[in-house]
């Protein structure tokens, strides 16, 4: 008896938008099928913004869109059998073997680069400049006073660098070795742990240097600065003589991490125009970061923020749509 009244959770949460704007302006061929295109929503705001904007534009093209909340790793199971159709923000820096394996199976395909340029590296709250004079230059970390200030029971006598979770792959160890520093990397276990410690350190003004990445909403909340290092060049990883340390490779900053869009392999056939649109869809750091802070700091809803972007940037996305429906 309840099936008539049944509302799935996802529909309730997101039906507010879906049905409002739907001018099917692109001929009879779109949508190719009436079935909704299912986009995954993962656990962080930036990804929500990326996904929601793409979803709104797809709706304007005439598609039905459904948003599926999905864990970052489990979503690949959904993407390999078409339970979900596309995931629009996959960071190659923290996906481990999950994406390569899914790609190899042929069931999930890469739709192209998203355009975000993820910067990764060591950063610190701005008061650290008093503790390690010379920052943001990395050579400030060479001083033993600085290492001493960062030392903890686990790392004595070396200074402590808070590193990425082990399952994301660690870069700090190689950087410490490359730059010949008296530091030791300690892995945080999760994004929550990294953020908690940075927040707590900022409250107490205790010394901290951590591996982190941008774009991230934490930049809106804390005054964070990057440790400046020699700019990445491929030679840095191959040639020990390159860079400040003549004996080691890896004495430079990290290259930008790639962020890509992926889709279920059957999507291109099922919704060719939508797929072509997703191929050209781009998002930049300069666009995404203010939207993240509008949501996480100024408490606007995801929907308001995404709609505002779509209204304001009609010229940008119209080109992608035109190319897709041609």
């Amino acid at each position: 008896m309840f099936s008539a009244l049944r509302l799935s959770a996802v529909t309730i949460a997101l039906s507010l938008v879906g049905t409002l704007a739907m001018p099917p302006a692109y001929g009879a061929s779109i949508p190719e099928t009436k079935e909704p295109i299912k986009l995954t929503l993962n656990e962080w705001t930036g990804q929500h913004v990326t996904t929601k904007i793409a979803g709104i534009i797809l709706e304007r093209m005439g598609y039905k869109v459904e948003y599926v909340t999905a864990g970052y790793l489990p979503q690949f199971t959904a993407l390999s059998d078409g339970t979900a159709d596309a995931a629009l923000e996959i960071w190659l820096s923290n996906i481990g073997e999950t994406w390569p394996k899914a790609k190899e199976s042929g069931k999930v395909v890469e739709v192209g680069d998203l355009g975000l340029k993820a910067r990764e590296g060591w950063l610190y709250p701005s008061y650290m400049k008093d503790i390690c004079p010379g920052l943001p230059n990395w050579e400030a970390l060479k001083s033993s006073a600085c290492a001493q200030a960062l030392a903890t029971a686990d790392t004595l006598p070396k200074g402590r660098i808070l590193d990425y979770p082990p399952d994301w792959g660690s870069h700090s160890e190689a950087m410490i070795k490359g730059l010949d520093l008296q530091l030791q990397a300690v892995s945080a276990g999760s994004e929550g742990a990294l953020v908690s410690e940075l927040k707590a350190a900022a409250v107490k003004k205790t010394p901290i240097i951590a591996m982190f990445w941008s774009p991230h909403w934490l930049f809106n909340e804390l005054d964070l600065e990057w440790v400046e290092m020699p700019k990445y060049e491929p030679a840095c990883m191959d040639d020990p003589k390159w860079g400040p340390n003549p004996n080691e490779v890896g004495d430079c900053a990290l290259p930008n991490s790639e962020i890509i869009k992926v889709a279920w392999s059957g999507m291109e056939k099922k919704w060719p125009a939508a797929y072509r649109f997703l191929q050209s869809y781009q998002m930049t750091d300069e666009e995404q970061i203010p939207m993240i802070s509008a949501i996480d700091v100024n408490n606007l809803t995801l929907d308001e923020v995404a709609q505002a972007w779509v209204e304001k940037n009609k010229d940008t996305w119209q080109k992608w749509v035109d190319a897709a429906v041609k």
């Binding site: 799935s8 959904a78 339970t83 899914a102």
Partner: protein, 671 residues
């Protein structure tokens, strides 16, 4: 100890060869792939079948106005255990309404509403099977142990591959974890029905079928209801796994995503929903279970009247909620949501008293954790000091004195224990060569439970050794050992206090309930805020969870001491302290040991979650395998955690049984 001095030449003793890692993991992956390729249609069908009641129940709970659901649960609470439970139920559900989490809460309830009956049903079937056949029982007991100790994260990938993406995977993971207590209680209940009762049934001409369903099952019903109650609780503690996968918009998703953002207030408030739900369902099912036990039937006339009145009341409420939308959907302007204040409070505490916590951490790190992990020797090396031979000698002289003292107090075994602890602290648990650990555990198992237990322990340890997980396993062992020791001392003291002080007992019970049922992810943020990423934070997170059974069992053990014994002790002129240490604790020791057993299990199950703080142990290995979508590695790691748990369990259970026999006490069953 010449062994230790040659360690550099004998690195294979701590840095074990990895003979079987490849074959076992590849084999598991191969089996898994074949399984998925050939049987995924069957699992797909199961998944489809289960998703049907799930969406129906979800639809119904979402469709009902909150006021109707709230009153309905309150009435059920009243029927189960009277006025106090009714008030508690109403207040808890109102919390879910007022905080704006109603929709998510009802989705979680729908998950539990399908997973718990599923687990109870399957558990009943397996229990009957185990009761009928001895072979089945032996196989089942091993399976049940694995189901309870292999962390769900390590079979998440295979479950996803088999059942496909969606909430059903979470449902099945919860059911797997929740069905063992049902099986155990059904087997125990059916087996302990007095044979005279069954015979009298057969004499009056009952067939086998009739005597089973009409005599044996009703007689075992109280025990079976205990199983149902425990199954519900276990389901709730695992239901958050559904949120790791996503796709259901349940309250666990809120817990996880706020934890990721390090928003303590938000994660606490959403986590409380699960804790409250668990407490309500626990009390309600326990209430009905005790009705079954007391077998006092209320007159049917008044019961049907009450039912009719309740139905009328609910209908009236439904009608009213059609008139007043606020009774159907809580207006968002009325939302009570003090998350920001909670966060501010935490920040204030950290900025004001952060130094106190830093000091505590420092002391524990240097006096307990680091010695246990890497040993005094290396600790001093690392800090730049060297310990002179004189100091080393002084340490061992002190140890010898302690051993002498211990042997006076607790005979030879106490001395051995002191020697082991002292050696572990000197050399570090993670540096102990595996043959030494094999010997120590083997002897302990043999002493406690004979050749069988020893064989099982050695086989289990060999598995860990040969799959190349010895290093992470030793880190896990060190973390668990420290956590269990801390829980044992602090929890035992709190339990003893609760046993002698009713007021404290009433205070600690809801604290225990909350610690036990709130998703453990919630503790991680405040722990890191106060103590930073590191072993100490992981330790505190583990202790916060694993201390609960220690408190409970100690209190229970002391409170259930025969009055005559206590009175005899007082009559003989024992002082309070003498009575406590020489009468109460020894007599309660089997119960306390079972508490210790549970504490070990809880600590092991926290390893995977504590890894989110940042460890390098087996818990972390599970995540690494998960990120690499490596089923084989995830499963071998999961089995290794299970093996540590099962070895500890076998040894302690055997010891407790032996001790009970010595004291001439009745067998106390572990939960």
């Amino acid at each position: 100890m010449p062994l230790f001095y040659f360690q550099h030449d004998l690195t294979w003793l701590t840095n074990t060869a990895v003979w079987l890692k490849g074959p076992i993991e590849r084999g598991l992956n191969l089996v898994m792939d074949m399984f998925v390729a050939n049987f995924s249609w069957a699992f797909g069908a199961i998944s489809w079948l289960l998703s049907w009641p799930l969406t129906e129940l979800q639809g119904m709970l979402q469709w009902l106005p909150w006021s109707v659901t709230l009153v309905a649960f309150t009435l059920v609470g009243f029927a189960a255990a009277g006025c106090r439970l009714a008030i508690f139920t109403a207040a808890s559900l109102f919390y879910m309404v007022a905080t704006g989490y109603w929709q998510e809460s009802m989705n979680t309830l729908a998950l539990v509403g399908v997973a718990a009956p599923l687990a109870a049903g399957v558990g009943f079937g397996m229990g009957v099977l185990g009761y009928r056949s001895g072979v089945a029982r032996r196989v089942l007991i091993i399976c049940l142990d694995l189901m309870q100790t292999v962390p769900a994260f390590s079979y998440l990938v295979p479950l996803l591959l088999l059942f496909g993406f969606g909430p059903v995977v979470g449902l099945i993971a919860s059911a797997i974890y929740a069905c063992p207590p049902m099986v155990r209680n059904v087997m125990h209940g059916l087996a302990s029905v007095p044979s005279a009762l069954v015979e009298s049934g057969e004499m009056s001409g009952a067939t086998r079928w009739q005597s089973f369903w009409w005599v044996r099952v009703p007689a075992a019903l109280p025990q079976i209801m205990v199983g149902v109650n425990q199954t519900i609780m276990a389901t709730l503690s695992m239901v958050i796994i559904a949120s790791v996968i996503g796709g259901f918009n349940d309250i666990g998703w809120e817990v996880l995503s706020t934890m990721r953002k390090a928003q303590f207030g938000q994660s606490l408030m959403s986590g409380m929903v699960i804790a409250l739900m668990a407490m309500i369902l626990d009390r309600i099912s326990a209430g009905f279970a005790s009705h079954v036990r007391s077998t006092v039937n209320t007159p049917t006339v008044s019961r049907s009247n009450a039912l009719a009145a309740s139905a009328l009341l609910l209908l009236a409420l439904f009608a009213a909620s059609m008139l007043f939308p606020a009774m159907r959907q809580w207006p968002s302007e009325w939302r009570v949501y003090p998350a920001a204040q909670i966060n501010d409070f935490l920040s204030y505490t950290v900025s004001r008293y952060g130094w106190v916590f830093a000091e505590i951490k420092q002391i524990v790190n240097f006096c307990i954790l680091l010695p246990l992990k890497i040993g005094w020797l290396r600790l001093f090396d690392a800090t730049g000091y060297t310990i002179s031979p004189v100091n080393q000698a002084a340490y061992w002289v002190a140890v010898l004195c302690a051993m002498l003292l211990a042997s006076f107090a607790w005979k030879g075994r106490g001395a051995v224990l002191v020697a082991l602890v002292a050696a572990a602290c000197f050399f570090g648990l993670t540096n102990i060569p595996w043959p030494v650990l094999f010997m120590v555990v083997g002897v302990a198992a043999w002493q406690a439970g004979g050749v069988g237990t020893a064989g099982f322990s050695l086989a289990g340890m060999s598995f860990i050794l040969m799959t190349g997980l010895w290093g992470p396993a030793m880190l896990s062992l060190y973390l668990c050992a420290a956590a269990v020791a801390l829980s044992f001392v602090v929890g035992g003291a709190l339990g003893a206090l609760a046993a002698s002080n009713d007021r404290f007992s009433a205070f600690i019970r809801p604290v225990n309930d909350t610690l036990q049922t709130i998703p453990q992810f919630v503790y991680l943020i405040p722990v890191i805020f106060l103590f930073q990423v590191g072993d100490f934070s992981a330790l505190i997170a583990i202790v916060a969870f694993s201390i609960v059974p220690m408190i409970r069992y100690t209190e229970h053990g002391i409170r259930s001491i025969d009055h005559e014994i206590s009175e005899a002790a007082i009559g003989m002129g024992c002082s309070t302290l003498q009575k406590r240490f020489q009468i109460d604790l020894p007599i309660a020791s089997p119960a306390i040991m079972l508490g210790l057993n549970q504490t070990i299990m809880y600590a092991l199950s926290m390893l995977v979650i504590a890894a989110l703080v940042g460890t390098r142990d087996l818990g972390q290995s599970v995540y690494i395998a998960l990120t690499n979508a490596d089923t084989g590695a995830a499963l071998t790691t999961g089995f290794s955690i299970a093996i540590i748990g099962m070895v500890a369990d076998r040894i302690i259970q055997a010891w407790a049984k032996k001790r009970q026999r010595q004291l001439g006490l009745q067998e106390i069953r572990s939960a």
